[in-house]
Symmetry: C2
Subunit: 221 residues, 2 copies
Amino acid sequence: MRVVVPFEAGDPKTRLAPLLDADERATLARVMLDDVLSSIRRTGHDPEVLATASLGEDVESRVPVTVDERPLSTAVNALLEPPMAIVMADLAIATPDALERVFDAPGDVAIVPGRGGGTNALVVRLDGYSVDYHGCSYRDHLTAADELGAHVTVVDSYRLSTDVDEREDLVEVLLHGEGETREWLERAGFEPVTTGGRVEVRRRDGDSGRRVDRGELECER
Amino acid sequence: MRVVVPFEAGDPKTRLAPLLDADERATLARVMLDDVLSSIRRTGHDPEVLATASLGEDVESRVPVTVDERPLSTAVNALLEPPMAIVMADLAIATPDALERVFDAPGDVAIVPGRGGGTNALVVRLDGYSVDYHGCSYRDHLTAADELGAHVTVVDSYRLSTDVDEREDLVEVLLHGEGETREWLERAGFEPVTTGGRVEVRRRDGDSGRRVDRGELECER
């Protein structure tokens, strides 16, 4: 089965801008992509990347890259051919075990919701299905499957439902990551901080003069 | 196996205070408890509640309740006797299938991390283990198991890793809930709102004159 990983090559992870500058966000996105590709390979599949722009020789020598500048859903639908899996590039705590549960799931469509109504992974095994990642795509993807009379399996995986877009998602990488992304964040000075509620992240002030986000991240323990 | 559900009877869910008044938060906590108890029963287990105060005849006629005013960890350790499962009371999107994966997990200790480093469900099958829910309890519970030489299974379930403490957790209930909690939230006027990023919640302005939280919940679609 083909496994496609869409990748935003432009200005990725803008919601992390308060914590990481543009270069760092671009690097983080590449490191997460590498982790996702590595986990997919360890399931025995050969991933391919669908990118909004060329990713350069370094990446393209290691993985097949299709460049399509159009919006995500349009680009995915242009190459969607069942059976095919579409796995988001920012699933930084995905493991081969978790991915295998999706790739091996029964039914015409297998879906993993992302936190906040997104679609983090999708396996399409029937003709005529198209994706729409805009808005509450999880619901829309279920509806689209219903309209085709498809049998749908929803896969219940915390590792795959966790995509990395926002500050609090970094905590999950620090706590549960098993790949390069966790190491990258640690080298960049991030550490979990125990507060009165959920664990949050703090960025240490380093020699590099990086911005440090204080105030709301006081350790309350 | 005994399945214990700790329940904070005092002023629960304070992080939802911007959205729900104290009475509403108390009701929400009870409705979530009922959903969790119902899901546990459907796995074939008879749950019991460990509460910080009496829950009244209405609840106590339906489920065994132990009252212990001490802090959560102290109270749990006082009754911990393997094999035993401890399931948090605010897992509003837990399903019997997801719980069965934990109850049936192999090993001496099975654990489900909560978002932000907590411990949402724990199965203890060996003597000498004690819990500590303070701080980053997921890591601490793994360490405690290591120190006993225990074999640990981490269960990867989005439904069980989602505890309901914060505003954005309500979205998950609205999107994935299969019990009374979702209906309660809908009756209270909550609905998912598509924004530029993750889906958020909005509370409709009703005849009841309830507070409505605006501003940050503009629909950007």
